[in-house]
Symmetry: C2
Subunit: 477 residues, 2 copies
């Protein structure tokens, strides 16, 4: 008997063999139908998500809007044929050797497996950006439910299935499966063509290894997180230590510190002025209700381990009862940090962060060089700063998907220019973003058609196609 996963993939493949021929207008209808269905079901979904995740109502309501907004942005992206990347070389028989006609277009990959995150049940969940971009790209999806919120995930899955049905999508185009084993079977399935994942480095690496061990490896787009270090110049501390401390605290406690863009490290020359401000602010901070008990207990134990690192001292810890997490800021000298990197440089899911105190610009640059790939990083600087921002920037470019100037990395705009990715372990493929309009580019690949009669070409490549207006022809656009 076929397993649940095998059945889901087989049905998705059959559905895709219809869906691959859908026009952009049909795909736009599907994406908007799902967006509408999400908005309409908000009042039914949010209470279930609240009971499963402890996330507050206002945040979850906003997140439903963010999820539907992602489907609407994808509908806009599909309305612009640029994403088809049409390139045409005309036949030229005067060349040696003669050049044949070539028409190239990005075509959908096929069935995509999707693994949503625990911390955003909607925007990075079953109906998250990965699902929106894979469907926008013309792919079928089999989605593995995150065990952190199975009930609301099933509801969202069913809502998408119904929305797809309402616009005439083939059965099986969207389906959900659950369980660790089913997920592993999914990534190994011979008919799967790509995988998208948002989650931990540990879980992401396990999938990465399994996918690369396939006889036929397939693209794996894993977004595994970041330490998101933020650097502060001496002039910025002199000018606005209190504002920077407030901004940092606000950013590390947004969503109870459970964002992949949380700035886990603040690095400054003369950090004491900031620590002094943080000591007061953190002590007065509100308790933080985390996703669930397991998450909080993991957070607390990593925090305690980090506090035992040589040279690490507590700046401040907020009060909380046992059902909430404390906000915790600790500090360490640059020298001790570099000597104890393994213990001190950890990603903490929750409202805990580290301030690294440097004696010199050279020490601060060495700290910057010690970080691996990260979703974001940033600089707080003043216009009268001299060399530091310029010396630091190339180091941050080497490790970052996004670099923030005098702002904080949390609060991710879902737009055309957003890049949410970066070198490993920020993502497993640094050339692509998992958030924003360009996320759909992950799920199409170019095919060149040589010497084809126009009627046998994909519709968008035919002589009368509107999409050719976006094409590069003989090298010119």
């Amino acid at each position: 008997m076929a397993s649940t996963t095998d059945k889901a993939v087989s049905e998705a493949l059959a559905a895709w063999n219809n869906y691959r021929n859908w026009t952009p207008l049909q795909i736009i209808d599907l994406l908007n139908a799902i967006a509408d269905a999400l908005d309409k079901a908000k009042d039914d979904l949010v209470p279930v998500a609240m009971s499963e995740t402890h996330l507050p109502q206002a945040r979850l309501e906003g997140e439903v809007g963010r999820a539907s907004g992602q489907f609407r942005l994808m509908a806009q992206a599909v309305a612009d044929p640029t994403y088809l990347d049409i390139v045409i070389d005309k036949e030229n028989s005067t060349l040696t050797p003669p050049r044949p006609e070539l028409r190239s277009i990005a075509m959908p990959l096929g069935v995509v497996g999707i693994f949503g995150a625990s911390n955003f049940p909607f925007a990075f969940g079953v109906a998250g950006g990965d699902t929106a971009s894979a469907l926008a790209a013309g792919c079928a999806v089999v989605i593995k439910i995150n065990p952190g919120h199975p009930i609301v995930s099933s509801m969202v899955g069913e809502l998408m299935v119904q929305a797809a049905k309402s616009v005439g999508a083939p059965d099986g185009l969207i389906s959900v499966i659950s369980g660790l084993e089913a997920g592993m079977e999914l990534v190994k399935h011979k008919d799967l063509r790509a995988v998208a994942f948002t989650g931990s480095t540990h879980g992401g690496r396990a999938l990465f290894d399994a996918i690369n061990a396939r006889e036929i490896p397939i693209p794996f787009y894993g977004e595994l997180g970041g330490l998101n270090p933020m650097f502060v110049t001496e002039n910025a501390i002199t000018a606005r230590a209190k504002a920077i401390a407030e901004g940092f605290l606000g950013s590390i406690t947004l969503g109870a510190g459970q964002f992949c863009t949380k700035p886990g490290f603040l690095i400054a020359i003369g950090a004491n002025a900031i620590n002094k401000e943080l000591a007061q602010l953190v002590a007065a901070a509100s308790p933080q209700r985390m996703l669930n008990e397991r998450t909080q207990s993991l957070h607390d134990s990593i925090r305690e381990e980090m506090l035992t690192v040589q040279g690490m001292t507590l700046v401040a810890q907020s009060n909380s009862d046992s059902s909430d997490a404390s906000v915790t800021v600790m500090t360490i000298s640059a020298g001790d940090f570099l000597k104890n990197k393994e213990g001190a440089m950890r990603e903490v899911f929750g409202p805990t962060a580290v301030v690294i105190d440097c004696d010199s610009q050279e020490e601060l640059l060495n700290i910057a060089r010690s970080f691996s790939g990260t979703l974001a990083s940033g600089i707080h600087a003043q216009t009268n700063d001299s060399t530091l921002p310029g010396d630091l920037l190339p180091i941050l470019e080497d490790i970052s998907g996004r670099i923030v100037w005098n702002q904080w990395p949390t609060g991710l705009a879902v737009t055309w220019a957003m890049h949410h990715g970066g070198p490993y372990p920020a993502s497993t493929n640094p050339l692509f973003t998992s958030v924003g309009a360009r996320a759909l580019l992950r799920f199409r690949r170019p095919i060149a058609y040589q010497n084809f009669p126009t009627d046998s070409l994909p519709t968008a490549l035919r002589d009368n196609s509107e999409a050719l207006k976006s094409a590069r022809i003989d090298g010119k656009r």
Copy 2:
């Protein structure tokens, strides 16, 4: 003491920290200087390549022009800022939450390791398309020399080093290393940021596994080859069996069958009419001088193994003395092929190919479904064909990087629209081409700059940049 590889990568990294700031005009100068140097040295290079590879003079002379042409095409690609993929979202404080300014641009990856192929000492060698595209993308290169032609490879490497020096490039931007161990050390080096490879599935998979086992995995662009199946309709056989047999023979003997785009399999309903033509043509074919003795001996032994597959029979084999390879065409029924896939479906480097005879359209479609990823595939059809091309095309789209209609896959145009890649094992990343203008896209990745003062942005993103003319701004281009 540092190893040769370590020294090369360290010097490349230091050079890159200068080269990353080069303007497009400076990069264009470098690319054209290398192209000029290749053309100028042709008469010195070709005799050495002839002595190392047995490839004929005219072919090698043409190949030098192809290699220099690739550098010139890359110079054109860099002259058009489209490859920078600039996307800008303006600040919008009226939104909830307020949207910060984001400017995204594709930036060079860093130091790239390159492994050239044995079969094209110039166009896919030390100064091949991978080197041209990595340099065009703003990356430094460390190139592992193919053992099939070490002397000419060293000459080409030195020629590029001198050309780079002549335009003021930093020392170490381009270097060559040799040896299997040095190559393995290269792909594992902590400062390497990507690898490009053209060669066998076996060798490519070994690098793929080593790169994915890194603590910090990096992008690997391997082009591993293809079986490049060609399908012929009954009407096409009726109309032009002889012309198809001639075209097939010409394609499988081009470069003595040592092209990654060689059509290894011809599949037809009623293939006997083609086999009859091939029997005569192949018997009269010229002997084929292969790259070296090892290559020929491997070719001969795989051919003999394939001839022992159940149901496989010889169509014809050309005469040759022991220093040349015979042209060999064998045939098998579709049923026997599917029953003995492991033995019959092999990539043969050299002038050997298989004709698969089908009884029905359904059988032919099943054969098509049995192929894995391939660089190319093709259809020979007539305008009066009814369902076959339409039923076959989606299957070929699933496996192919390029699909050829009534032509042959050998003879690869180096242009803007070319796609040379495809699902594994055609390539290890089906989203990118290794040939043509878009090959440079493999070596840059997007970085989003949030809320930056214009003077601290990369030059191309600043307010007064010419490159902004190519930008997408607030979703509009």
